[in-house]
């Protein structure tokens, strides 16, 4: 606004000094009109200039204001939260936006063979030559001097945006380099089978631990969230490795068979053992019960016997024989011949049939 007043005041006296012909009056009118436009334009320009300093900070962002190149505020206080903000336009103030809460990721393929995104998507392997050219195909060397392929993806978030932005030209590149290094480091300490099959989790953990150490040591101002590691044998040795896996499977099959045999044998044995004990137990009960009942019977019979042993014996014998004869299926009575000898009797035993057949001969 201030710039506009001088024109107004200087023009004031100019009018009456020069008596006017129609032409110059028209010119002065025109000039006055254009000065008016200039005034408005200048006001607008100033407003636009100041207004260009308005900026918004998103939910996932923080901003840092630099006044004459120096950050306003120290450390965390320098961070402007989400919302509308204003700074003087350059060169007095500037602002830098940083995205913070989004999870960022870097991937390391330093240990992976060369593969195009199309191949990666379709899941097919690029053709493998007999050798690996270290300039093209990445790989890692293991603790037992073998070659494996391994790659990793690291997710992290920025915990100290000021550091992340103002201390590193390319912080995410630095993180990727640390991840590359961590993969090589872990592989160099793990024998091939541990890294690929037996201790995949341990391998992963070592990569994670190493990369965390590195980024902390380098003060990158980030927090590692997760680290995914994928490893595989060289394509050239695919079959050899698969055969080992197959052998392992066969082995566990053989072992499982043996274990099921073990279960079978043991459970049968313990069942048999139990039944033997049970049989013995019931034999014992029977024997004892029998003998005790005999003893009782004996006690009862003893007085009778003592009264007349012969009669008793005869009585019992006959009685028993009577019972036996009633039960017997067949009874054969041999009469005595004239010579006082019993007749001969021949038996034909049929082994096949359960029933015996007999044929009295006379």
């Amino acid at each position: 606004m201030a710039e506009l007043h001088p024109h107004e005041t200087s023009r004031g006296p100019a009018g009456p000094e020069h008596p006017i012909d129609a032409g110059s009056q028209a010119l002065s009118e025109a000039l006055r009109g254009s000065f008016g436009i200039v005034k408005v334009v200048m006001v607008l320009l100033v407003l636009v200039f100041l207004g260009s300093g308005i900026f918004t900070v998103g939910q996932q962002e923080r901003a840092i204001k630099l006044r004459l190149g120096k950050a306003v505020g120290q450390g965390e206080k320098a961070l402007l939260g989400p919302g509308l903000h204003w700074s003087f336009p350059y060169p007095i103030e500037e602002y830098v936006k940083v995205s913070v809460s989004g999870v960022k990721r870097v991937s390391s393929s330093v240990g992976w063979y060369a593969v195009t995104p199309e191949q990666e998507l379709s899941g097919q392997l690029p053709l493998a030559g007999a050798t690996l050219n270290p300039a093209v195909d990445g790989y890692a060397l293991t603790a037992d001097n073998n070659i494996i392929h391994t790659r990793a993806t690291l997710t992290y978030h920025i915990s100290e945006p000021v550091r992340y932005i103002f201390n590193f030209v390319n912080a995410s590149n630095a993180i990727q380099l640390a991840l590359d290094n961590a993969l090589l480091y872990a592989a160099a300490r793990y024998p091939v089978d541990e890294a690929l099959t037996r201790d995949v989790a341990g391998f992963r953990e070592m990569v994670r631990k190493r990369v965390t150490e590195l980024v902390e040591g380098q003060d990158l101002g980030i927090v590692v969230e997760d680290c995914l590691v994928q490893s595989r044998p060289p394509r050239q040795l695919e079959d050899a490795f698969n055969n080992v896996l197959r052998a392992e499977v066969t082995r566990s099959k053989v072992l499982n068979e043996a274990r099921s045999h073990e279960n079978q044998v043991l459970s049968k044995a313990s069942a048999d053992a139990q039944s033997r004990v049970n049989t013995a137990e019931s034999d014992r009960a029977r024997l004892v019960a029998e003998i005790s009942s005999r003893a009782e019977q004996f006690q009862e019979l003893l007085p009778q016997y003592q009264a007349n042993p012969d009669l008793f014996v005869q009585q019992r014998l006959t009685e028993t024989l009577g019972r036996v004869l009633t039960n017997a299926q067949d009874k054969i009575f041999l009469t005595e011949g004239a010579d006082g000898k019993s007749k001969e009797l021949r038996l034909l035993l049929n082994r096949e049939a359960p029933k015996k057949t007999e044929e009295p001969k006379s």
Partner: protein, 304 residues
């Protein structure tokens, strides 16, 4: 034309602004700068904010990014380990400009001082690597557990590079250094593959053999255990039977009152028990009660 005070103020303001633009420069948080007087570096500036200078052509300001730069060796360099293995290595370095007055005269000549500096760094790093790799056997790089010197080797290289950078006064500082790639010459990889294949063979036969052996062990162990269990049970059963005998023996005293009678009863019971069913009896006339047929008691013999 009369000067209005406001016009005057605006004029002064404009002159001030032009003057400030000429005499003041600002250094950003992420930068360091050096002020040169007639082309000679005279004043380093490491604090962010506004600073004074004489206008061009007396003084000039050169600003440099002072953040940590990542430098990565493009190529793998080959080096012999102590035990004569050919090892390819490449490393990455994080470095930054710390002393702009020392940095400026050395590197600001070219188009991009950062690229110039990295060219020098590349040589320094290559020398340091060559010196360190040759002092370690391969097993220092690659081995499980405590013996692994991976991190220590990186420290050694870093130490040498740092010493070199300091001795030459490049105005740089090395923040970190790490191995980015480890490799073997291409023709060696094939023999590694061959070795790995034979290792796989060994593993296959080992797991076959071990599997069979272990299965055999499990089976025989199971059989042994089963036999043992049965034998134990047999022993227990015998014991139980023995106990039964002992209990039965207690009744012996009862029978001893009259052994003859006892014998008789036992025999009767045995007889009855053995002829319980499906038996065929054959008698002659002497057997009671068939002796009746002989007319033992005066009855008439009769036949059936």
């Amino acid at each position: 034309m009369k000067k209005n005070p406001l016009t005057l103020a605006v004029g002064i303001l404009l002159i001030l602004i032009v003057g400030l633009l000429l005499f003041v420069f600002q250094v950003r948080q992420s930068e360091v700068a050096v002020v040169t007087t007639f082309g000679k570096a005279t004043r380093p500036i490491t604090d962010a904010g506004p600073h004074w200078k004489w206008p061009w052509p007396i003084q000039k300001v050169y600003k440099f990014d002072q953040r940590v730069q990542n430098f990565t060796e493009d190529k793998l360099t080959e080096g012999l380990t102590q035990d004569s293995f050919n090892l390819l290595t490449s490393v990455y370095v994080g470095w930054k400009i710390t002393d702009p007055t020392a940095f400026f005269p050395r590197f600001a000549g070219g188009d991009d001082p950062i690229v110039e500096a990295e060219r020098v760094l590349e040589r320094t790093v290559a020398n340091a690597k060559a010196a360190v790799v040759g002092q370690h056997p391969l097993s220092d790089f690659l081995s499980p557990g405590q013996h692994n010197q991976f991190a220590a080797i990186e420290e050694e290289i870093l130490g040498i590079v740092r010493r070199d950078v300091q001795a030459n006064d490049y105005g740089l500082e090395i923040e970190f250094l790490g191995i980015k790639k480890l490799g073997l010459p291409e023709n060696v990889t094939q023999s590694v593959f061959e070795r790995m294949t034979s290792e796989r063979q060994v593993l296959i036969s080992k797991s076959q053999f071990e599997g069979e052996a272990e299965a055999q062990k499990i089976r025989s162990e199971a059989d042994r255990k089963a036999a043992e269990t049965l034998a134990n049970a047999e022993g227990q059963a015998t014991q139980i039977r023995g106990k039964a005998e002992a209990e039965a023996a207690k009744y012996l005293a009862v029978f001893q009152q009259n052994p003859e009678l006892a014998n008789f009863i036992f025999r009767l019971n045995a007889l009855e028990g053995s002829l319980k069913d499906r038996s065929i009896l054959i008698f002659d006339q002497h057997t009671p009660p068939f002796d009746l047929f002989r007319g033992g008691f005066g009855a008439k013999p009769s036949t059936r």
